[in-house]
Amino acid sequence: MRILRFVGRRLLQLIPVLLGVVVLTFLLVRVLPGDPIRTILGPNATEEDAAAARERFGLDQPMWKQFLDYLGGLVTGDFGTSIQSGGSVTAEVALRIGPTLELVVLSVSLALVVAVVLGIWSARRANRAGDHGIRIVALVGNSMPEFWLGLVLILVGYSVLGWFPAPSGRVDPDTNLTPITGADLVDAVLTANWPAFTSAAAHLVLPVATLAVVIVAPLLRSVRASALEVLHSEAYVAAGAHGLRPRTLLRGYLTRATMVRVPSLAALVFGSAIGSTVLVEYVYSWQGFGQWALRGLLYRDYPVVQASVVIIALAYVLVFLIADVVHAILDPRVKI
């Protein structure tokens, strides 16, 4: 109940932030140089043709009217019509967000698991070779441009070893997967399409690995640091001094206390992972949100850019909210 009230209050606080994002993107998009209409008209179009097209997309209206229309649409979940495709942006978003979320959620989860397991392991062996090794490896991963790493993994995993399917999509089309959420693994499970599941999983391995490698370092560093802090805390020493069993100590005392700081960092990492998908999706022909947003930006597809930024901002603040809730659950000291 308390959590619900907390979530409610936080959701209310999100409104000004999201409104700010909405206004800012709206303006940003319009001050960007470039004319979206010209990109769809083809070379033979005349000024009248352009004016007609402008009218079609409501771009001839005064700015405030455009904004009010946009806002009105947002309230009903309508992001407008894409200038490039002429289709409903909302529908496109629905199609694009699933795959990207699948990619990001899996990568962040993988990174989290790896970071927690290795971080605690590393902290308990602080300053031995293994600890140093893990930290350095994580840092190296963190220092690589994702597009470079992606290409290397494709070269090795697909071209040389042939272990992974061609990086051209997310699932083998022959498996006839019916899209529901857009997240192929989920869809495969929902439709009990096991060949599709296997195929989707195989397609996911390399991109997920790429993203995870790139983001794991800060998580690992943080887990290790807080595990160390716990290990050195008076409380942990006290528990040890009372002769508690190692298993009890690890589970009840070390792990949970270590996890306390992870959610908010995971949320941050989630944010940067979303950013990285633009590059990772390109390299792996992963037609997701990032590619869509990037294309929208390059072609100044106003509704698409607006929608993509607002959606990512929404996802981002929601993830932070979730992180706060998880934090509150993990850490009884948090006042909510």
């Binding site: 805390s233 008076e234 409380a235 009840g252 206390a257 850490d331």
Partner: protein
């Protein structure tokens, strides 16, 4: 049961070595409470850690720690893990920090029970409830599901004790179990240890820097100085007629509510790099002779003492340490030569203040601008509310406080933790704004002033803080900090330097200290700097907010001496805030007793201490530890902890007062004159009678 033999611990770190313990011998038997006392850094915790085999990294231990026949230092993993907890269980100094924040206290306790007493979870929970009840936790079933942060300090300490006893240890070790607790709670917690020894036949090792507080429950005491045992013996004898000069100095530095003078010993305890081959106290000791500097005094029985009373000194002292004797004891004065030899505290050492008795002597008054008697501070019916950021309401920290301080006067403010003392201090300095009521300093109100005017008025009142190092900006030099009020006043640089030097001289600090950073200072030095900063702008009012509570006992005495000097200036008013009644008694003219943001009693210091009117004052006095006669009159004990009492309407003390009636719960109490002092209790006239008849002591 426990017998430590010739234990030495050396901690080796790159660049430095510390001989934390040198040839310590100590024993604790079943059913016995042994007190281990000494100043900070003396090695008390190290002894405790050795007993449970938890030495810090880089530590090398020699000697033996025999526990029930086995040597802890040579135990293997398995033996050690049963020894820890089940053999000897440690209660940690900072109970809240020693509890894992993310696990309920109940589970932390059942973890111990299942580990050491082989109980199943259900049984363990039941046993946990009983244990909680035993240590005096009300509503134990509910508290089992509480997280540590939901507990008050006293409660957390009780939980910690239950955790330790939950391991069913042969030996219970308590490292400073009452530091940071209120006087009223301290007694209660200490009783728990006595109980563990008497009822469960456990051995108890009580560690404290404060002799007086643990005196009552100990069978024997061991005094540590610089990692060596300087004296040990039966508690009553050692405390009454200490034989080692250090023990005597230690006892004499502590203020006592019976008002006996405090004696300061210059210098500070040295940090030993190697096991000493002389008497480590010699540099501070007035009895020291050449021998003391050449050989380490062996541990010998006290010549005039009883069995088991030993000391390590070539010059054992005799006689009780009564107030008069202490004041007259020439041994407690220190020579400049020996202080200079102290390597650890160069500032204090070099210009070391001569020790001396602290008395109210209103001598020299250098700048006598306002005539004595002019009010420099007037607070009228002030309320302070800390608003919470979002919700309505907030915390009502002060509820209608009125008081005045005249030039030349020292006002003492006492009260339990959280009663609003620091808030009152901030109010006096204009750091918090009163929700209603007014504050006037030097005839001017803070309210309504802005910008430059406000800043100028602020310099009229200065404060000395509780945390001496924390009140100095970590990235500024000491010189910067002291000169800050002058800079704000727009004093030109040359004059600034001059005045800073003058005030340094007054604090008996060396000039070289100006270039240092706060972390390079000892607590005593830092507090002198703090006082210097407060003085340098020649304010009308100085507020001392618990200026010595973070300091070591002997350093505390030195600072108290400085403060007494400062407070003696008739040109300004002083406010001295402390939770320690004895300290306040030392040099206040008047005392105000705060309780939950209200003044419950106010009057001349001797009247309030000798003839308390309010039941609360009486209770405070009764529970104050004392090595001397202590509080003479009939005692009152409060029936509950502060946290559990509610003060919705009526007398705030109603929830805890043994004399409570329905009228107390209904009516607000105003200060009313009773003799020389005033108290906010309508039953004052009846209390003597009530006390006579019944035995109020619980």
């Amino acid at each position: 049961m426990l017998s430590i033999e010739n234990l030495s611990v050396v901690i080796r770190r790159r660049g430095r070595e510390v001989a934390a313990l040198s040839n310590v011998n100590l024993r604790v038997d079943a059913g016995e409470v042994v007190g281990l006392v000494g100043e900070s850094g003396g090695g008390k915790s190290m002894v405790a850690r050795s007993i449970v085999g938890l030495l810090p990294g880089g530590a090398d231990a020699t000697g033996a720690v025999h526990f029930d026949g086995a040597d802890v230092l040579r135990m293997d993993d398995a033996a050690l893990s049963t020894h820890r907890g089940h053999g000897a269980a440690l209660c940690f100094q900072n109970p809240r920090g020693a509890l894992i924040a993310t696990r309920t206290v109940g589970r932390q306790l059942t973890d111990r029970l299942t580990t050491h007493q082989a109980m199943d979870t259900k049984r363990a929970r039941e046993a946990a409830r009983e244990l909680f009840e035993q240590v005096g936790i009300r509503n134990p079933a509910r508290r089992l599901d509480a997280y540590p942060h939901e507990l008050s300090g006293g409660m957390a300490q009780r939980v910690m004790i239950s955790l330790a006893t939950g391991c069913a240890p042969g030996l219970l070790i308590a490292d400073e179990p009452t530091t940071g607790l209120d006087v009223t709670l301290t007694r209660e917690i200490l009783r728990q240890f006595r109980l563990a020894a008497d009822a469960d036949r456990r051995g108890v090792l009580l560690i404290s820097h404060d002799l007086a507080s643990i005196a009552a429950v100990c069978d024997r005491v061991v005094v540590l100085y610089a990692g060596t045992v300087v004296e040990s013996g039966p508690a009553d004898q050692v405390l009454r007629e200490p034989s080692h000069p250090y023990t005597r100095a230690l006892l004499a530095s502590v203020p006592d509510i019976d008002g006996r003078p405090v004696v300061a010993t210059a210098g500070a305890m040295p940090l030993m790099r190697t096991a000493p081959d002389d008497c480590p106290f010699a540099p501070r000791c007035a009895h020291a002779t050449d021998t003391c500097g050449q050989r380490r005094p062996p541990t010998t029985p006290v010549p005039h003492g009883t069995d088991g009373w030993t000391l390590a000194c070539f010059h054992p002292q005799r006689g009780p340490l009564t107030a008069e004797a202490a004041a007259a004891d020439p041994t407690l004065y220190v020579t400049a030569k020996t202080a200079a030899a102290d390597p650890t505290v160069p500032g204090t050492g070099a210009a070391g203040p001569a020790g001396g008795t602290l008395t109210k002597d209103r001598a020299a008054a250098p700048d006598t601008v306002p005539a004595a008697g002019t009010p420099v501070l007037a607070i009228d019916d002030a309320h302070v509310v800390y608003r919470s950021r979002f919700g309505r309401g907030g915390h009502h920290a002060l509820r209608g406080v009125s008081l005045t301080v005249a030039a030349g006067e020292t006002l003492g403010v006492v009260g339990e933790s959280g009663c609003g003392k620091s808030t009152l201090a901030k109010l006096m300095l204009g750091l918090v704004d009163p929700a209603s009521g007014s504050v006037e300093v030097a005839g001017q109100r803070y309210a309504g002033l802005r910008g430059r005017k406000l800043r100028q008025l602020r310099t009229r009142a200065q404060m000395v803080f509780q945390d001496p190092i924390g009140s100095l900006s970590p990235r500024r030099t000491v010189g910067d900090s002291i000169a800050e009020p002058l800079r704000a006043l727009g004093v030109p640089a040359a004059e600034r330097a001059q005045r800073v030097e003058a005030v340094l001289d007054r604090m008996e600090l060396d000039r070289s200290i100006l270039q240092r950073q706060p972390h390079e200072l000892s607590g005593g030095q830092a507090q002198r700097i703090g006082i210097a900063r407060a003085l340098v702008g020649r304010p009308e009012l100085i507020v001392f907010d618990e200026p010595t509570s973070a300091l070591d006992v002997t350093v505390q005495a030195q600072i108290l001496k400085v403060i007494a000097d400062v407070a003696a200036d008739s040109s300004r008013g002083s406010v001295f805030i402390s939770h320690d009644l004895a300290t306040v008694r030392g040099f206040s003219d008047r005392v105000v007793v705060l309780y939950l943001g209200r003044v419950v009693e106010e009057g001349p210091v001797d009247e309030v201490f000798d003839n308390p009117k309010h039941p609360y004052t009486r209770a405070l006095l009764a529970s104050a530890p004392s090595l001397g006669t202590g509080f003479g009159g009939p005692r009152v004990e409060l029936t509950r902890d502060l946290e559990e009492a509610d003060a919705a309407t009526g007398c705030p003390l109603a929830g805890r007062c043994p004399f409570v009636t329905d009228r107390c719960r209904a009516d607000d109490q105003q200060l009313q004159p009773y003799g020389a002092s005033r108290a906010a209790c309508w039953r004052v006239p009846e209390i003597p009678a009530l006390l006579k008849g019944s035995d109020i002591r619980v």
